[in-house]
């Protein structure tokens, strides 16, 4: 009756996030993430963005998948990368890289842990700062000088700093964070988010003077994404201009 094989089969928690760039490097899905750094570079040729924020309109748009895979792409390119989970309300990075969510950003910002405990190594060869325990007012701690100082220090320590941030339409955290980054990448789940939600979120980011580098379409249907390829990319990068 007890089927050990079945139990050993991946459960829902194990299938949550897929860092395909590391686990299935030859897949078309992984390949689509490899385009992101190239396009990011072209978004600002003279001054390549090194501190990159990833956000979206609402939850469930694959921000964490994008952030982790982008980090893995930079690792492939031989770069030193750190991924910071700035979603202090619903942290997910630790789940994607399979580490415990302890001694994180929130605890650091309220002086509960020091910097040496903060940075965690992962099996994917990029470093991670967890979100840590849930705090009542994340936007307050994210506005702190200590956070800004931390990002500055990380900029000196790493080639690339990627910040996984909460959705723009739900909380203001991402708008605050956009002040300390070089560029913002905006993820849209094509099957989930409406045009009006996307527009509203982009307007909010613009009002906060976020430097939007482009949008990433996730969960793209084959019809839209073929370019002649039979399999179709699930991820797609588009340059975003103000005229759009």
């Amino acid at each position: 009756m007890f089927d050990f094989k079945k139990f050993k089969k991946k459960n829902r928690l194990e299938q949550e996030y897929n860092i395909v760039v590391a686990t299935k490097p030859n897949s078309a899905y992984a390949e689509s993430f490899r385009k992101i750094p190239i396009d990011l570079k072209y978004s600002s040729v003279d001054n390549e963005p090194r501190v990159i924020q990833i956000t979206s309109s609402v939850a469930g748009e694959h921000k964490t998948t994008t952030a982790t895979n982008l980090a893995a792409v930079y690792v492939e390119l031989g770069k030193k990368v750190i991924l910071v989970d700035c979603d202090l309300r619903k942290p997910k990075i630790h789940r994607a890289v399979e580490i415990l969510n302890d001694d994180g950003l929130s605890s650091f910002l309220i002086d509960k842990v020091d910097k040496s405990q903060l940075i965690k190594k992962t099996k994917y060869n990029f470093d991670v700062i967890n979100a840590g325990e849930v705090v009542p007012f994340p936007h307050v701690v994210l506005r702190s000088e200590k956070f800004q100082k931390l990002i500055k220090e990380l900029r000196d320590m790493y080639d690339y700093v990627i910040l996984d941030c909460p959705p723009v339409l739900l909380v203001t955290d991402s708008l605050i964070i956009s002040e300390v980054v070089d560029k913002t990448l905006f993820v849209i789940n094509q099957q989930l988010t409406s045009k009006s939600e996307t527009k509203e979120a982009i307007t909010l980011l613009r009002e906060a003077n976020a430097d939007l580098a482009g949008i990433i379409l996730s969960n793209v249907s084959r019809k839209v994404s073929n370019y002649g390829y039979r399999y179709g990319y699930r991820y797609k990068y588009r340059y975003y201009s103000r005229k759009e």
Binding site: M1, F2, F4, F7, N11, R12, L13, E14, R95, E98, I99, L100, N101, D102
Partner: protein
């Protein structure tokens, strides 16, 4: 048969309150055909006094010595760990006991409302190297069958109480318990015996045998526990 969920160890929780009572409970277990008993004293229950891991191990060792002088039964130690915010850090510091030193821990969920983010709790346990068995999974009123299916997908094991199977805990609970067994979602059955709770493992075994076949009953009442908890 193996009873995987009992509160027989005296003085450590709301189970047995005296040595005599514990002996009576053991005699009852033996009379029902149980050869192996797992003691799962409460841990982290706010309404009960705190007993440290070492205190529990010492109490168990002393008790088992006395039991071995009188009865032919094997005892194993574990804990029924009530969910609390501190649970993960205690697990990290190895301050809680798994069942018979296996990787499996028996987790009791709150009775009044669901945990905010159970996915995160199960995930953290997994990262720390533990596998979770949900204690008497049929008894949480806020989980309907559909939610239990979702919970199962997190890779947890389900334990059901014998008195839920026999209907002593109410019709609805019995219905859920039987539906879970029918759906092959249950791995273990235990009596969850306290001084106040009747141990009806024999009746439950007969009922499961009648309804779902003897093979299924053997797995639920004995074979699964043997495999999972390294019981010879």
């Amino acid at each position: 048969m193996i009873d995987v969920h009992t509160h027989i160890l005296p003085f450590v929780d709301d189970g047995s309150e005296s040595l005599e009572e514990s002996f009576r409970m053991i005699e009852r277990e033996i009379s029902l055909g149980i050869t192996d008993i797992i003691i799962t004293s409460h841990a982290l229950r706010l309404d009960l006094k705190k007993v440290s891991k070492q205190e529990l191990i010492d109490a168990f060792t002393q008790f088992y010595t006395l039991v071995q002088q009188k009865y032919d039964v094997r005892l194993y130690l574990g804990q029924e760990i009530a969910y609390s915010d501190k649970m993960i850090s205690l697990l990290k510091n190895k301050e809680l006991l798994t069942i018979n030193n296996s990787e499996y821990l028996l987790l009791e969920l709150p009775y009044d409302e669901p945990i905010n983010d159970i996915d995160e709790v199960i995930f953290s346990c997994r990262i720390l190297g533990y596998k979770v068995i949900i204690a008497h999974v049929e008894r949480y009123y806020y989980y309907d069958f559909k939610k239990l299916v979702e919970l199962k997908k997190l890779g947890v094991l389900f334990q059901v109480n014998s008195n839920s199977i026999t209907g002593r805990s109410g019709k609805n609970i019995q219905k859920t318990a039987l539906k879970l067994i029918k759906g092959k979602m249950v791995e273990l059955v235990g009596s969850d015996v306290h001084a106040f709770r009747h141990n009806d493992m024999d009746e439950a075994f007969s009922l499961v045998s009648r309804r779902f076949g003897e093979e299924m009953a053997d797995w639920l009442f004995s074979k699964n526990a043997k495999q999972l908890f390294n019981i010879l």
